[in-house]
């Protein structure tokens, strides 16, 4: 199996406060980890344990203070901002708790958005975006604005936006956190289907029930991986 995420002793230290009374927060305190192609990994842990930080580093939205990170075999530890942006655009699909859709764009245009920065023609973007929307079961909602969609539908648009990038890695930070349990189950079913189709998924969650959909649960505490639980 090809490694997708390879981390060695990754640390992320935030320094804040005044110069005299500096406060150091070790959001990640030496994380080493290997995720291979096709895995469905959940990350659990108490609030403030560093789950989001780990996901941001994985998704090249944040840079580690020290350590090494290989994404799909490529060393991305010290990437220039512009190169990191291009990698995010081509290798990473991100799904946020708060959806983050453009309120004035239709579902279709929201899904197109990452492809705009690849310089694809509008026709090509349309083609790929409508396919991605069909994949998440929203073929009949393409022209709807986010305000005309339910929470679960919004999150499915966001997932389609991640899928349209054909990413090596799909990351989701509490994707069901803003949804009722019914919509949450829809999203989870979708993730399971994506896993069965061979996608590599990393999902941060607070709920054991959700985490158990995955085949492996990483437990975090105080910026460290404390348990790597593989389910049967």
């Amino acid at each position: 199996m090809k490694p997708v995420v390879e981390m060695q002793e990754v640390k992320k230290v935030y320094r804040s406060g005044s110069r005299r009374r500096q406060v150091e927060v070790r959001a990640l305190d030496g994380v080493s980890l290997l995720i291979t192609e096709g895995e469905f990994v959940s990350i659990m842990g108490p609030s403030g344990s560093g789950k989001s930080t780990l996901l941001h580093v994985m998704g090249l939205l944040d840079r580690p203070t020290s350590g090494r990170y290989l994404l799909a075999g490529e060393d991305v530890t010290t990437l220039e901002d512009e190169d990191a942006a291009r990698m995010r655009n081509r290798r990473i699909g991100f799904v946020f708790q708060a959806f983050f859709l453009m309120p004035r764009y239709s579902a279709l245009r929201n899904v197109e958005l990452p492809l705009v920065y690849r310089g694809l023609t509008e026709a090509e973007r349309r083609r790929r975006a409508s396919r991605a929307l069909a994949e998440v079961g929203l073929a009949d909602r393409m022209d709807h604005l986010p305000s005309e969609l339910s929470g679960g539908q919004k999150q499915r648009v966001a997932i389609a936006r991640a899928l349209v990038q054909e990413p090596a890695l799909l990351l989701a930070d509490e994707p069901t956190g803003n949804l009722d349990s019914e919509s949450g189950r829809e999203i989870l079913a979708l993730f399971e289907r994506l896993h069965e189709a061979g996608k590599t998924l990393v999902v941060v969650t607070h709920e054991r029930e959700i985490a158990e959909r995955g085949r492996r649960i990483l437990h975090m505490r105080d910026g460290r991986l404390v348990n790597d639980e593989v389910l049967g």
Partner: protein, 399 residues
Amino acid sequence: MRFSDNFKIALEALFAHPTRTLLSLLGVIIGVFAVTTLISLGEMATYGIQHSLEQLAGRSIYIQPQFKPGVEPVRFDADLLRVLRVLPVQPIPYVLSSATAADRRGRLVSLDLVGTVGNLPALDASVELARGRFFNRREAEQGLPVAVINAKAESTFFGEGRGLGRELILNVSDGARIRTVVVGVVRPAGGFFGGFESERVTVPYALLWERMPRKKGRFDIIELKVEPGADLKEVEKRTRRLLELRYGKDRVNVQSVQAFQQALTGITVGLQALLGGIGALSLLVGGIGIMNIMLVSVTERTREIGLRKALGATSAQVRAQFLMEAVLLTLSGGLIGVVLAAAVLYLVVLTVPFFEAFILSPLTVALALGVSAAVGLFFGVWPASQAASLDPIEALRYE
């Protein structure tokens, strides 16, 4: 990222808040409006004055004896007229004097008294008869007491339309009185100078030679009408050489309307530069307004910027987007300003008689739009780099 996508995104951002967009544009609109209007008004005024000048003086060269203290001025006589025939010109000699005559209520009014050759309308197209006739060559050479007056003189001395055939007694210097009969009335000159006409009486040159001993045998000024097809500058040069040969250096003053036009152009260019400077200042103020509104927009759209970057927009792409917005913003302001200016200029041409032609040169429009775009580019740089330098996570977290 494609240019068309960048353009579309920027346009959408501007139309998201149309009122605010328009308000933020006021400075640029006023600036471009001012610059465009003032430059065009300058061009229109120059055109108007030059047009009037050309109507009045056309392609003419004026020669006059040079006056210097202690030096006897040269004498322009009938022989000079024959010599000037070698040039491709039609010479029209004038004796210039002044006189007084009694107006309708018996008060003495001063007037310009001009002596010239006969049949002037045939020589000078700007002289047009309203009524009657011009004295002919024979009358001019024999000095018969006939007069052609302008409309202003007719209304002063006789009343409008009542001058033909009447007697006009001219009191010239030395206490002499010349009795003349009015045979013709000329139309007022058109154009800019037409409004400033004073009473003018034109009589045969020989009449003045005969009755005013000081004027005998000489002309004060000769207008040389350059023949069509001849090069004005070249003819002017040859005239100078010929007069220098005949009278010596610096004895004759040679002038053409061209020199006057050049001076005039200089003045209007200076005026336009000044007015353009005022316009540039208002553009500067407008540009600062644009920068301000762009900074507000960047702050408001922090999360949008964060999202775009998270999805893979590079800093350069984000910067390009906001620069495009700034340029489109100022460019549309420029466009509105130019349209407003065109409307006002058109109204001016319709209502103010002095401005005869509507001039809005493509160069002026190009300049106005170019400057607007440049203002957007310049004042957009800072807000755009603010947007480009945002950290995606912090931007997404922004409330």
